[in-house]
């Protein structure tokens, strides 16, 4: 391949945000289209779905393919991009009639409460109506084309990624407006004189002809930036410009002519266009049968006690491998030891991904609770059953242990010391066994385990929750087997009574309650992430402390890994302040402002307890971005570590010697994006909680403002952290 072309391809990186947005749009459309097709089969034939998907594919082809790599060096490639963006993708998208399917693809609550207020906004309707009027849309189209092809603006776009993206965005918007007026996707109202749309189409075609001809017939290069660049495929800048103009002339006029012709034909066609409706519902279709079967298999696998035990045994075996290698294997570099790789590179990353896409999966398969099988019979044998002290029946001990864990992790560099990691795991098993043997099932999880508290706090952001399916069934239930256990199995180990359970707090996802319920009235249900942090939760100071530590700990933990912070003198002291003093003062300060704003009517402790949980989403976003970074950067580090361990045991794993190559992709933007979403969710939860405290809007604003400010400051800190060089844990010596 041409070396310059190779270099351009090597420099290209796929735009993650566009890919995710396109994926989300396809998922929503597919889901909504399937629903609508069952109800209105004649309005939503399969070809419409094909059009929409083709439109998305063309969009990705224009913006998220290697074509983008050539656009900065070749005018033809750039014009091809613009043609796809303005003349191919938009009409295909509108032919898919996407407005209603995209809305119906959303969960009902999101549509009603989230989009509803906007859909009923008269000013927004008027604004959109004005934008899609053929005359307005055509004017915007022409202005955007002329402005962006003016040499100054065009060259700025070629030289700057940001301007280039903005250029494409504006092209896409004006093209969507223009083609909306042409395609009029359902449920748009059709004008009486449909043929009139041929006039703006004709004007657009004429404009395109003049515009393209100026490229073809000019003897000077419009955009000197191309003349300065190394030439691709031996095409000089002027020839490139002429070829680009010729392409635009032919290919650009084609969609206009086709659209105008079809519109005129349809406008003059008076024939009977009634179609035979397809069957309304097909409950026995193959796709549906497969979906039902998959759901059944998944449900059986998730709900099976044996499956859970098997997963726990696997996790237990991994824990034993960590302990053995940590104690007996080489200590340096820690990346070649299983105790340096498995917990700190993989486990943490997979845990946060599991929390985000499902729920508290680690607690569900926690190997530390395997010792329950021993501790239970032992305590019965020796009749040892103490009561957990009343003063400790809260989260304070776990919060202190969590803070100690975060502090010692950085100060003693546990991530880089396999021997310490091994003893940490041994200590965990011992503590779990001892506490469970002395104080009964679930005490360790609920009152001691700092990892569990991390998961409990983080799982507030999870999309799944163990819930009662029909609350009215519980009102007539007297056995309460979900709590106490019964003939079908043990009840909840952490004393959660399902009818009053709020969110995922204290829920280990063990599903014992699901199996124990005699009425089969408990299940794993989809919920809106972070909704359990809302006003329904009973405010508690210990949970507020956990939320604050969870949030500030995320930022302290990440900050301690970047060069400017890692080299600071007195790091242990600073870290201690960041984990204890800074959160405490922040919470008290926010509450003091809120109390002042409400005229002293609300106690500070109540405000802290009520509003601190709103910090959890931004804290979780930071944990997710940070752990995700380490797992991503060191994804293949398991191979050399396993190979080394296998070598020590006398085995040889082929291929392990050459392993360790990384997938290369800039994830700084992903990290910042995730943190931004965390800030938004925290802000929304803060506002909901503040409205709960006071009904007056201004007072609620004053109550919420300091908390939002704290979240915003943390966001700024997080962005700064992501822009610093970070330790490549799991890979370095």
């Amino acid at each position: 391949m041409n070396p310059i072309a190779s270099a351009a391809l090597a420099a290209w990186s796929p735009p993650w945000d566009l890919l995710f947005a396109a994926t989300g749009a396809v998922v929503l459309y597919w889901r909504g289209f399937a629903k609508l097709r069952r109800q209105l089969p004649s309005r939503f034939p399969a070809w419409r779905r094909g059009c929409f998907l083709s439109g998305i594919a063309v969009l990705l082809g224009a913006l998220a393919s290697p074509l983008d790599a050539f656009a900065d060096g070749l005018l033809q490639a750039h014009m091809l991009q613009h043609w796809l963006l303005m003349m191919v993708a938009p009409p295909l998208l509108w032919l898919g009639a996407p407005v209603v399917p995209l809305m119906r693809g959303l969960p009902h609550g999101w549509l009603r409460r989230g989009l509803g207020p906007f859909l009923s906004w008269p000013a927004l309707r008027r604004f959109v109506d004005a934008g899609v009027r053929p005359g307005t849309a055509l004017a915007l189209w022409i202005v955007a084309t002329l402005v962006w092809h003016w040499p100054g603006a065009y060259q700025a776009a070629v030289r700057s990624r940001a301007w280039h993206d903005f250029e494409h965005l504006s092209f896409l918007i004006v093209a969507l407006l223009f083609w909306y007026a042409v395609a009029l996707p359902w449920p748009a109202r059709r004008p009486a004189n449909r043929a009139a749309i041929a006039i703006p189409l004709g004007i657009a075609a004429l404009f395109n002809t003049i515009f393209s001809a100026s490229f073809v017939f000019s003897d000077r290069v419009f955009y000197p930036v191309y003349a300065e660049m190394p030439r691709l495929f031996d095409v000089d800048a002027l020839t490139d410009q002429k070829l680009a103009g010729a392409f635009l002339w032919v290919a650009g006029s084609l969609p206009m002519v086709v659209a105008a012709t079809l519109t005129l034909i349809r406008a003059t066609d008076t024939g009977d266009r009634t179609r035979v409706a397809a069957p309304v519902d097909r409950p026995g279709s193959a796709g549906r049968r497969i979906a039902t079967r998959l759901k059944g298999i998944a449900a059986a696998a998730i709900g099976s006690r044996r499956a859970r035990k098997s997963a726990q045994i696997v996790m237990g075996a991994l824990a034993i491998a960590i302990v053995a290698d940590g104690l007996l294997g080489p200590q340096r570099p820690s990346a070649t030891n299983l105790a340096g790789v498995l917990p700190w590179t993989y486990w943490r990353g997979f845990v946060v991904v599991g929390l985000l896409v499902a729920g508290n999966l680690f607690c569900a398969v926690c190997p530390f609770t395997l010792t329950r099988a021993l501790s239970g019979p032992l305590s019965r044998r020796f009749a040892v059953k103490l009561r957990w002290p009343a003063r400790l029946r809260n989260r304070w001990l776990a919060v202190v242990l969590f803070a100690a864990y975060l502090w010692s992790y950085e100060v003693f560099a546990i991530w880089d010391r396999p021997w310490w990691t091994a003893w940490l795991v041994v200590g965990y098993f011992t503590a779990s066994f001892g506490v469970e043997a002395l104080f009964g099932r679930g005490t360790f999880c609920k009152h001691v385990c700092p990892i569990g508290q991390f998961h409990f706090a983080a799982s507030a952001n999870s999309p799944l929750e163990v819930r009662v399916l029909a609350p009215e069934v519980c009102t007539v239930c007297s056995s309460h087997d979900c709590l106490r256990g019964g003939p079908r199995g043990p009840g909840c180990a952490t004393d959660l009574f399902l009818p009053v359970k709020q969110g995922n707090l204290d829920c280990t996802f063990c599903l014992d309650c699901v199996r124990a319920c005699p009425n089969d009235n408990v299940g794993l249900q989809a919920v809106t992430p972070a909704s359990s942090l809302g006003p329904a939760r009973t405010p508690r100071l210990d949970f507020a402390a956990l939320a604050a530590l969870f949030c500030f700990g995320a930022f302290a933990n990440a900050a301690a890994m970047v060069a400017p912070v890692a080299g600071m003198p007195w790091l242990p002291l600073w870290l201690g302040l960041c984990l204890v003093a800074v959160p405490a003062f922040s919470l008290i300060g926010c509450a003091a402002v809120g109390r002042f704003a409400t005229g002293g009517s609300l106690p500070k402790a109540k405000l802290v307890a009520a509003l601190a949980p709103a910090l959890i989403p931004i804290g979780f976003a930071m944990w997710f971005a940070h752990f995700g970074f380490h797992t991503w950067t060191a994804m293949s580090s398991l191979v050399p570590a396993v190979g080394r361990a296998a070598d020590d045991l006398g085995f040889s794993l082929p291929g392990a010697a050459g392993a360790g190559g990384m997938a290369a992709f800039d994830i700084t933007g992903v990290e910042i994006g995730v943190l931004g979403i965390g800030l938004l969710v925290s802000t929304a939860v803060t506002w909901r909680l503040a409205r709960r405290q006071t009904t007056a809007t201004l007072s609620a604003l004053a109550v919420a403002a300091p908390w939002v400010l704290v979240s915003a400051l943390l966001y700024g800190l997080g962005v700064w952290i992501f822009l610093q060089p970070m330790e490549m844990r799991g890979m370095s010596m």
Binding site: P14, P117, R161, A162, R644, G669, P725
Partner: protein, 171 residues
């Protein structure tokens, strides 16, 4: 709803895989030099692009098999860093990390490897990219102001709808 979630997760995984499949500029380790240093075949990995500030380098000696530990020295811009690659019986990765303060231009580093009485040297050039700026991340950063604007508008609309007659609300 479960199918919806399943679809979302699958789509996210697909998107992630598609992202990972592409060659790209990145802040992640990639090979910056590969060649022979005397008797040793060496690969050097670093975050890419290397930017001014601290960077972590990894030196790979893939066929180190039974030759015992190696000592690796990296000399760059007057700064010297070294590391010992142990792994008495290991045939796998041998690493050394150097923290180097770099400026944005083409620079040269020299790598010296000592093992079992043998010494090898590899000199290679590498590019240093400019320090990343906030402007480069404008798309990710714009999530917050856009999101806040939409949220504020949403809440304003909700408050207006509460005051408006029930007939105008969307159900």
């Amino acid at each position: 709803m479960r199918r919806f979630l399943l679809a979302v997760v699958s789509a996210a995984v697909l998107a992630g895989v598609s992202i990972a499949a592409g060659a790209a500029r990145a802040d992640l380790p990639q090979v910056i030099a590969r060649g022979s240093a005397g008797p040793f075949e060496v690969s050097v990995l670093a975050e890419a692009p290397i930017r001014p500030g601290m960077s972590s380098w990894i030196v790979w000696l893939p066929n180190a098999s039974t030759e015992g530990p190696a000592r690796v020295e990296i000399e760059h811009a007057g700064m010297r860093a070294s590391g010992t690659a142990p792994g008495r019986v290991s045939v796998h990765v041998h690493e050394a990390r150097a923290r180097t303060d770099t400026e944005a231009e083409m620079q040269t580093a020299t790598l010296t490897i000592h093992r079992a009485g043998q010494t090898g040297t590899l000199t290679f050039a590498f590019a240093v990219a400019p320090r990343p700026g906030l402007v480069d991340q404008w798309r990710a950063l714009s999530i917050v102001p856009i999101g806040l604007l939409v949220f504020a508008l949403h809440q304003w609309r909700v408050s207006r709808m509460r005051r408006a007659p029930a007939a105008t609300r969307v159900r």
